[in-house]
């Protein structure tokens, strides 16, 4: 069944959108990520312009992460104080990111910058996660006790001042890296049009040693906050949020996310990381291939100003 999208000015199959939303929602619920890095390319593939895709995906991620966050909240798998401190940085970062986005667009080559940052971020983050997950699995297979490095193992982050105790995560760290991480995620989210969960989760795990029990729920709260702000800013600045598109994606997304969250609880942490790493790496490589191989058509058309 075809449905006409009022802002994208395009008819699309409603079931295709629902299926895409559900698939991405499943992944996002499972790994505690927004799924923007999957959704945005998928929408562009269907024929929606990148600008509309990025703007509409933010509200889809907000819905998906809200339903996820609620179910994690009931399981007490969210650290409220950690989420709050992250949000302070996230709000600042999103505002900064939107300003940078506007600047980049005026300079041209925004598409290239987005593609390059996708390649660099996704392949590096995905690669590291995949490698870590693989090593952990090999260790487990060999019968060695999985080394829990958490208590006692100090990295440079633990030497910073302004320490704060985050009770539910059972960590005692400085707020500086926490705000810094929030800032980075907010910034990247606004510039690249992604939730940023796939960078946030490993940062929280490796840098702050946030336990797996609270990391996903907490990251969802930050994603929710930054994506709500992003939706507002996109609606205000360029009027490109397609509410109909967003609603269809949301319905698919939240449904998928529920099943994903349950599936995620059944899989062990290192396997989860291995899978996610693989997925991120695949998307990153796909972007890299697109940049390197000769495109089918060297020419592209973009509407610059509607002469109405």
């Amino acid at each position: 069944m075809q449905i006409y999208l009022p802002i994208a000015d395009l008819p699309v199959n409603i079931f295709l959108l629902l299926a895409m939303g559900a698939a991405v929602g499943f992944v996002s619920g499972m790994f505690g990520i927004g799924g923007g890095f999957l959704m945005t390319p998928l929408l562009i593939f269907v024929g929606i312009t990148p600008a509309v895709a990025v703007a509409s995906v933010s509200s889809h991620i907000a819905a998906s992460s809200f339903s996820g966050a609620l179910s994690y909240w009931r399981r007490r798998a969210i650290d409220p104080s950690l989420a709050l401190v992250l949000m302070i940085g996230g709000t600042l970062g999103t505002a900064l990111g939107v300003a940078t986005f506007t600047l980049l667009r005026s300079l041209g080559q925004l598409d290239l910058m987005i593609a390059l940052s996708y390649v660099v971020l996704l392949t590096s983050v995905g690669g590291v996660m995949f490698w870590e997950g693989l090593r952990a699995m090999i260790r487990a297979r060999q019968g060695a006790v999985a080394t829990v490095r958490r208590p006692g193992s100090h990295v440079w982050v633990h030497g910073l001042p302004l320490k704060m105790r985050f009770k539910r995560s059972k960590i005692y760290v400085s707020v500086i890296p926490v705000i810094g991480i929030g800032l980075l995620i907010g910034f990247l989210g606004a510039v690249m049009g992604i939730g940023g969960g796939f960078i946030l989760v490993p940062l929280l795990i490796y840098l702050l040693r946030v336990p797996t029990s609270t990391v996903i729920g907490t990251s969802m709260v930050l994603t929710l906050a930054t994506m709500m702000i992003a939706t507002m800013l996109h609606a205000l600045s360029n009027h490109l949020v397609d509410a109909v598109l967003a609603l269809i994606l949301m319905i698919g997304g939240v449904t998928g996310a529920q099943f994903g969250a349950r599936a995620g609880q059944m899989i062990r942490g290192e396997q989860l990381r291995l899978l996610l790493g693989l997925l991120i790496l695949a998307v990153g490589i796909r972007f890299a291939i697109e940049l390197v191989i000769k495109p089918d058509d060297l020419f592209t058309i973009r509407e610059t100003e509607v002469g109405r």
Partner: protein, 260 residues
Amino acid sequence: MTPFRLASLALLLLLGAGAEPAHAERLIASVSNHRVTVTPNYAGEELVLFGSVEKDAQTPPGRTTYDLVVTVRGPRADMVTRRKERRFGIWINTDARQFLKVPGYLALFANRPFDAMAAPEVQRRQQLGLNNVLLTQRVGPDYADVVPNDAFRSAFVRLQSQHGLYREDTSAVTFLTPTLFRTGIPLPAAVPIGTYEVEIKLLADGTLVTKTETAFEIVKVGFEQFVATNARQNGFVYGLVTTAMALMTGWMASIVFRRD
């Protein structure tokens, strides 16, 4: 005034002068629908243009066969065409050309090939065929159309044609009787919203005899119109509503799927 502008002005004068004399025939035409509404289940449409050639006393007696060219132009917009080149191992946009106020939809229909109808000079002057339609580009400080085989121009026409937005069909116009004609105007699903001008040119013996114009519009109605207008005019409220919708959807899902 640049030489390009002077040239196009001269062209305009010529066109105006050419259309004036010898009102021997009259063209009457109408499209099947003057107002195409885009509804939630809009997935492209085909309009039909009907028309007839009315002769009068001044019509040369030997003239029996006519040629017809129907040009449909959609709402105009500025477009940019970019070309990728390999730099440092990756393909990036290097060169770009701006097209000014070009139609978002452009269709040319005729009853037989343009070459059989008129001399190349007439084809160019009357803008018969995609190769002869004026597509203004910004070339440095000037505005001009370039030769049809220009890389950017041909890429632009080719890409628009791939999306069904630019088309040329020299067998689309059919004469039902020697004076009654019809043609279909196919509109793709991703059609630009706005006013469409239809220009019908009647040719005989390789020259323009007369022409007429009609128009139709493509509009969004109801819910589509409501959403599009509000997104543009009330960005803040629209954002709030969308965000609230996101939260509601998320919350409802967690209620519906609650198992604990």
